[in-house]
Symmetry: C2
Subunit: 226 residues, 2 copies
DNA sequence: TTAAGTAAGATTGTTAACAAAAATAAAGAA
DNA sequence: TTCTTTATTTTTGTTAACAATCTTACTTAA
């Protein structure tokens, strides 16, 4: 069975945001999307309504749908929410992690390192996000996993707007420390490491000058940059 | 300016769920809703898609939209998520609470007591939920507030399905204790009280025999029970 | 040159008709 | 009766045409 068109659209938009092919503020025109995904406007509108319900997309009446552009205040709220959620994810992951889970996390870190070494920033970002999502899957709480999926998606948009670029190597090293703590099963240390990791990510932001603000093309939706 | 029809529909459905007029599993037929809110089906579908994005409604292809029925596992995930989120809300609320905030919370508790005294369970439930939402507003984090709004909504459905009925008086007393700790500005005590309060709520559930499962009428949407 | 106003084009919003699928009711066989 | 099959009805899904709104380009006047 092939996937429903509105889900294909939704997933494609989410994937594109996760890899920074779709920057904050990009207009998501109905006709463009319906042609791109070969379906009618009704399905496009359904996908956009669902994304609006998840605060990934903003619907402006009579104007259309746009990728959200988080404000500095929203960025603070999002990182505070991530710390609340990921501390609990950390403690739960420590309870449930298997050797296979650990192996998979290290694999993601390895790919991250390679992406960074070859200067493939979008891939690196997707993998960094994947690392956090994977921890949530290990924790086994579907609700927290979904919340984190949304928050990391919006974090990617925030990084695109406000990142001052520094924290990349740092982030990777911290991921390694996190897996080590997980392997030891030290829930409290793990929780603390994750919390600090997120504080470091947030500290890397600078709200002086927003960088890329949405340009028009949704072509990025179908052509990955690597 | 009058509100857009899809928002009217969405809010009406959420209100009805918050007061247990719409139980888990209720079918939300498109024609019924479009007649009830005097709008076309397109608006109904948009509202339902948005609610589906918030996991309040489940869309089954070719079947229609239904109020979600949380499983016992989902109930556990939801309460764990609430504890993660509301602990942080508690600490933030302790930082920002004004005397006016305290007054308003006590007002809600008072109304709760009256609703309980006069055996108006749906109103009592709505107010109990309102208490937690109000704390989130005081904390001032819009993201956490929205997550909590969703979680308390689903908690109401869970109580409808699995509540063993006992925790009502207990819950009210704990709300009082919580406001007292907030007034003192004791963030850690407050966080701990909230955590215990949620554990008590969860402990009141019994997963033996689900009670009300969705019957058909969406008439409940427009006629409050008090 | 700049600004305001106007007209043309493009995009979103609304509506209705039709197609497809599922639920229901009815009829027949074991 | 009970189960299956078939026909009917209801509901969801799709499509296209039209209306309303916004955007853009152009013209005109200060």
């Amino acid at each position: 069975m092939t996937e429903a068109p509105e889900n294909r659209i939704e997933d494609a938009i989410l994937d594109a945001i996760a890899e920074q092919r779709l920057p904050a503020g990009t207009k998501l025109g109905e006709q463009v999307l319906s042609e791109l995904f070969d379906c009618n406007r009704a399905n496009v509108r359904r996908a956009l309504a669902s994304l609006a319900g998840q605060h990934i997309v903003e619907l402006r009446p009579n104007r259309g749908a746009f990728v959200v552009t988080p404000t500095p205040q929203e960025a603070r709220d999002i990182f505070q929410a991530r710390r609340a959620i990921e501390r609990t994810i950390a403690r739960e992951a420590a309870k449930h992690a298997t050797v296979e889970d650990i192996r998979k996390l290290r694999e993601i870190i390895e790919e991250e390192a390679q992406a960074r070494a070859t200067a493939r920033k979008p891939l690196e970002l997707r993998l960094s996000r994947q690392f956090h999502i994977q921890l949530a899957k290990i924790a086994g709480n579907h609700v927290l996993e979904r919340f984190l999926a949304e928050l990391t998606m919006r974090s990617t948009l925030i990084l695109g707007l406000y990142s001052s670029g520094g924290a990349s190597q740092c982030s990777e090293d911290e991921h390694t420390e996190i897996v080590n703590a997980l392997e030891k099963g030290d829930a409290e240390a793990l929780s603390h490491l994750i919390d600090e990791h997120l504080q470091h990510l947030e500290a890397d932001l600078s709200f002086d000058r927003p960088k890329q603000i949405g340009f028009g093309l949704a072509q990025a939706l179908v052509s990955p940059s690597y």
